[in-house]
């Protein structure tokens, strides 16, 4: 059987391949595992792959622009090491650094992380905290889809064959924000998150962001917790209350599962401690 592999050089080539029935290949760290499983089961393998990682638009990283843009083909290794990412979006750099291993981070892309839509994906928690809106192109045109609408459930997106994620527009955090990304797993490296957390705070609490990941079917900002943070006086009591509220919402959405006696206190402590350390970084007196 003759198969076809297209290393697309631009968006037009990629879309032409997709319209011709090709499947999208980005870093491949999820797709190649999936194909291995198909091969072992004797199931049919794709006959046409279009590799989109060489498309210039997908590699654009424009953190300092008025409308910051993160290309879908940017690898986690690049997020981990890029100076502008570390300066503008430290939580994105921190998330990039804890994905898989170095070997995986050299391949895996932020766009692939979104398209795969694992509930435990570290990239999704980080992007949700930054209000990411995906730029999706197809031969029918361009759509801008908020991340929380793009991912409609575990490993499920609203994308259809022919769609290509070009990148993500990100909110600009208020000047002087402090950000944290934290991951809880069975070990420190090469681990799938049991839970992860992205937090962004500023001194005036004008736009606090808090996303708890791997605890819900799809990424979401905890808007009630964010409202609480914006309305009360910052301090140990508020951090405790925010942790308690996050744990309560976790149970409301996911029910009281067998893991709940472990996860509920972990959520509460993870949220309150991360808020405390993020606030401490802002160095507000009192």
């Amino acid at each position: 059987m003759t198969t076809k592999y297209l290393a697309a050089r631009n968006v037009e080539e990629a879309l032409a391949g997709l319209d011709d029935g090709a499947k999208v290949l980005a870093g491949g760290t999820d797709l190649m595992v999936h194909l291995r499983r198909l091969r072992l089961c004797g199931a049919g393998l794709p006959e046409y792959l279009v590799d989109v990682t060489g498309v210039p638009e997908l590699n654009r990283l424009d953190m300092d622009a008025d409308k910051p843009f993160l290309g879908a083909g940017v690898t986690f290794r690049r997020l981990e090491r890029d100076a502008a990412v570390a300066r503008r979006y430290p939580l994105l750099a921190q998330a990039g650094a804890v994905v898989g291993s170095l070997q995986i981070r050299n391949l895996a892309t932020i766009g692939g992380n979104v398209a795969n839509a694992s509930p435990a994906a570290d990239g999704l928690t980080a992007l949700a905290a930054l209000g990411a809106r995906a730029e999706v192109v197809s031969s029918n045109g361009v759509r801008h889809i908020p991340l929380e609408e793009l991912i409609i459930g575990p490993n499920t997106t609203c994308l259809v064959p022919g769609d290509l994620i070009v990148g993500f527009k990100l909110d600009r955090p208020p000047e002087g924000s402090a950000q944290r990304f934290y991951k809880v797993g069975r070990r420190r490296a090469v681990v799938i998150a049991r839970m992860n957390l992205a937090v962004s705070l500023d001194r005036e609490m004008t736009d606090p962001r808090l996303v708890l990941g791997a605890c819900f079917p799809s990424p979401r900002r905890m808007t009630e917790v964010e409202r609480l943070l914006a309305s009360e006086t910052p301090g140990p009591e508020l951090w405790r209350e925010a942790g308690r509220m996050a744990a309560e919402q976790f149970v409301q959405v996911c029910g009281w599962r067998s893991s709940a006696p472990y996860k509920v206190p972990a959520v509460a402590n993870l949220v309150s401690r991360t808020l405390e350390s993020t606030w401490a970084e802002l160095g507000v007196a009192g």
Partner: protein, 163 residues
């Protein structure tokens, strides 16, 4: 269309490589380079670590066609005349028992020492986090990486074919 890439310093051209083939299957089954091991096959163990344009990747997760026009180095590419200093250090430090993880460990170590001549313990642990060893308990491997750093610093002999 043929898949053309540089492997351990030589240019190779292969026909009939399916779009879904892994770089690992091409190295082992088409080129007979059996030094690169398949451990888990899903990117967890690092036994298949090779360098793609100088950066460590899991060959089991890398589509073979991603290597087109690029440069791949495997464990076979390290030793030129006698063992490479990183290989010597692994032997001398007792960092090998069954040896299955060793090619991957050595490729990750080699990539680390190319980036940073004098890595501290945390750098080493982070660089090797994607390489599992079920025999040595890692102490001897950490010793080997430090010994390799000292050797390479002394000899400046870090020239690898195509690297």
């Amino acid at each position: 269309m043929n898949l053309v890439f540089e492997i351990n310093g030589s240019r190779r051209s292969l026909g009939n490589v399916p779009c879904h083939a892994t770089l690992l299957s091409v190295l082992r089954d088409r080129l007979g380079l059996l030094g690169t091991k398949e451990g888990c096959g899903v990117g967890e163990c690092g036994a298949c670590t090779v360098l793609l344009d100088g950066e460590p990747v899991n060959a089991c997760l890398t589509a073979a066609w991603k290597a087109a026009g690029r440069n791949v180095i495997t464990i076979e590419g390290l030793a030129t005349e006698g063992l490479h200093p990183v290989q010597e250090a692994f032997v001398d430090s007792g960092a090998i028992q069954c040896g299955f993880c060793t090619p991957g460990m050595i490729m990750s170590t080699y990539a680390l020492l190319k980036r940073s001549a004098c890595p501290d313990v945390e750098d080493i642990k982070s660089a090797l986090a994607g390489n599992l060893c079920r025999c040595t308990g890692y102490k001897q491997i950490l010793d080997a990486v430090r010994a390799a750093a000292a050797k390479m610093d002394r000899t400046h002999d870090d020239e690898v074919s195509g690297g």
